[in-house]
Each structure stands twice: as C-alpha cells, then as structure tokens.
Symmetry: C2
Subunit: 228 residues, 2 copies
DNA sequence: TCAAAAGTGTTTGGGTTACACCCATGG
DNA sequence: CCATGGGTGTAACCCAAACACTTTTGA
C-alpha cells in the first residue's frame, strides 16, 4: 500500500457564518488566541479530525460546536484552497471553506476553544478588510457573492429565518442580503410561481397591526404535487 | 506545535475532463489498473503530493500530465468530498474534484500511470452509470450540471475551442453541451450585448462555402473599454 | 379614525424567442 | 445556379418592475 506513505496536507475547515443584524448582512469573526496571526481577526475554523469526524459535514458541526457553541443547521461548501506555506503551522495547508446562515434571534454564538472574542462585522466591510488573518477577506468576498446570487435566483435564505415566517420577514431578509429594496408585488409573484413557500393555513403572526399569514419552506413533494 | 500531530486525510484530486465528440458532450474515464475497484472505470485522478505540488492548481496539472499525458488549460474546482471509508486505501479519504474542458482536435490524451485505457463516454450516459468506481457517477452528474449552467449564463466554453473560432463553431459547441438547438439570431445578439467575443479583423476561416469571421475570447480590458 | 403593515391588481417596458429573410462563396 | 453556412431584421411574447390600490388590525 504505497499511497499511505505520502505526507498529507494540514487540513482545516473555515466557516463563514452569516446573519442579519439591523437589516444588514454580517459575518462572524473570531479573534485568534494563538499564533499564527495571534490577536488578529479571522473566520472561525478548525482542524479536520479524522479520528472524530465521520465526514466533512460532521466536521463542520464539530468545529462549529467547539468554537461557537452551536451547531449550524444551514451550511454549504464554497471551495477548497490549498498551497505550500498557506499556514505557518505546516508545510502545506488545505482549507475547505463553508458558508452558514443563522437567525441571530434563535441561535446564540459564544467564543469557544482557541477564540478570545467573537464579533459580527458588516459583510461588505469585512470583505474589504485586508487586516484579516490569512486570505480570509477573499473568502468572505466569495461567501457574500454566493449568498447574493442565491437570492437573485430565488434560492431563499431559510437559514436566516425561523421555521415559520411571514412574507414580510422573508422579503426584509432578502433586502438585507442584497442591500437594496425589493418590490413587494413582484417578490410575491415570484414566490407564487416557483412554489417555494407554503402557507400554514390558520396560522398567523399577530402584532401591533394587521396579522400576517405564516409560511414555511416548501418541500420537494409539495412542488411535485402541485405541478402534476 | 500540537496541530501537526493529528493524522490527516488521504487527499486526492479527481478530474472530470470533458470534451465534444460528434456533437455530444463526453467525459473521460480511465480503467483502473489497481485495487481498489480494479478493472472498473473511474474518473482519472491522483494523490495530492505536498512534496511536488506548490498549490492545488499545480497538483491538477501534475496529475493530468501523469495520467493523461497533457496539461489542462481550462479547469475549475467543483467540490470537495470526504468521509471515513471513502477509499479503502486509507481510513479517511478526501477528494477535491475538478472539471476541465479540452478541444479534442488540439489535445491528445493517452493513458499514463496506473491507467490501463482511457475512453470517452457520453456525459448523460456516464452520469447514470452506477457501475463506475467510488461515487464518480455522482461527481459526473454535478460536472455536467455545472457545465450546462455555465452555458445558460453565457459563460462560454472557450476550453472546448481553439483560440480562434467562428460563431458557428461556438454555437455548435454550446448546442452540444446543452443537447438542444439554439437560435442563431438570439445567440449572436447575446454575444453582442455582453461583449464576450471579439472579432479578429481581417481574419477569416475559409472552407467549402462562404468564409466566416474569426473571433477570440474578449478580455476584461476589452469589456471595460467599450463600456466607458 | 389613523398609522402601519398585509395583501391584490394593472400597466408598462425591456429582453428574449421564434421565425423569416438576405448575402456570400465554392462547386 | 444551387447548396450551404454566414449574417440581419422584425414581430410576438413573456416576464418582471413599478406603481397604485384595497384590506385588516391595534392603538
């Protein structure tokens, strides 16, 4: 078994965790407690542990739990980057980058292993911040780009929302991500056409004003049924 | 330096090399010469060699050269997949998957290290072939999907074409990838609008019939200049 | 009865599709 | 002069943005 003898890269996972704060798309950063780049802000991340993680997704959950104190229900792989001298801790560094969406109201993050503090930074600001450790500014740029593209394609950001939500909340979330207002009527027509949300009959969100219909994410089966 | 002590995954690169044969999108497969999956067809690939490769892109080129006898001018990362027991050669296998486009007329592939024979298979057929080694059928599915999406977005497949090409050749290539005819007029209007190709004034392709204007891929600068 | 937010309808314009047509060339 | 492929024009249609409007509720 000759293949086993090759040295393998120092393999890590990096997390671009995003949320919405005050109508703005924000990214989570942690202050590094150790070298390299000690004291600088970076994306939270951690080493792939082949003894602990059964696959990449499980690794993401473990890293999130260790570093942020919470699992990440909605995440997606963005890319893998690797080169010699990428990370001073090893000869050859490989990072697999993930983007996650979390609703801040439901999920609390708290600094865990090897992180001093966490902060939320406006996405566009973070993307331009060349003070960040490693190449994390560039990773954030692609995370923001990918997330905006998803919205343009009406691949909706359910990760940012609770299970049940109003169309107003959904629209406000999309507007926050894109950074521009959307037309209510057009937005709803698109939702209707593509059958991406499903009304929860009888359930409404009450508030100071007119109650709003609650919706949930449409499942594959819902879409299939209605298109027959 | 405690991080170095963790065992790292058996890291490989897999190549979904695509081309056009007889107006059909095809994928390159190699017959495996060794265990695991000896004798079965698979995507060509190889181990990441941190002693040889300075980064992931360089690794792709080395693997392509070793296995196929040619570098790959146009390639793009698709995803990383990894889990325990993915590959019997190691406890934990990680594969970074790339898609490449090559023009068959210009580039010759020939079976190299650890490969018995190479064959070109129709993409849709390969995507459905559950006899392939590992999870390669699923990797091919996403490669095909991504490639078709690129064409829909007019992200053109210059990798399939020589440096200089006619609009007819370009359209035929797009049709081959999508598997359906395109309207010449609409196609050309889109090219015009988005300024993705540039005529080579004075250069024409002569043939049995009317000569055709030759074009080349428009550079970033071309687009910037004209939009001022 | 007013403010605020939910929800509906209609018009308009841009962009794409589909189709028809003309042009240039070698045999 | 015909077959073939390059190249152009136009009408129809679809989609989506923009805007105006009605409805429903709590205060």
């Amino acid at each position: 078994m000759p293949s086993k003898q090759y040295p393998m890269p120092f393999t890590r996972l990096e997390l671009a965790v995003m949320s919405i704060v005050d109508g703005q798309l924000v990214v989570l950063q942690g202050k590094r407690i150790e070298a390299p780049h000690k004291g600088r802000w970076a994306l939270p991340g951690g080493v792939l542990r082949i003894d602990l993680d059964k696959d990449l997704d499980a690794a993401v959950q473990r890293v999130a739990t260790e570093r942020l104190g919470t699992p990440l229900p909605f995440f997606r792989q963005l890319s893998a980057v690797g080169s010699r001298n990428r990370d001073p801790r090893a000869e050859w560094g490989l990072s697999i980058v993930y983007r996650a969406l979390i609703p801040l109201d439901d999920i609390e993050v708290s600094a865990g292993k090897r992180i001093e503090t966490l902060r939320w930074v406006a996405a566009d600001e973070a993307a331009a911040d060349e003070q960040l450790a490693f190449d994390h500014a560039s990773l954030i740029r692609t995370a923001v780009e990918v997330t905006r593209d998803e919205i343009e394609r009406m691949d909706l950001p359910f990760g940012f929302l609770p299970d049940k939500f109003t169309l107003g909340e959904l629209q406000a979330t999309c507007e926050a991500i894109l950074g521009r207002p959307l037309d209510k009527s057009s937005f709803r027509r698109k939702l209707e056409d593509r059958q991406v949300v499903l009304p929860l009959v009888g359930e409404v969100r009450t508030g100071p004003f007119r109650p709003a219909q609650l919706f949930q994410q449409a499942t594959m089966e819902d879409v299939a049924c209605n298109s027959i």
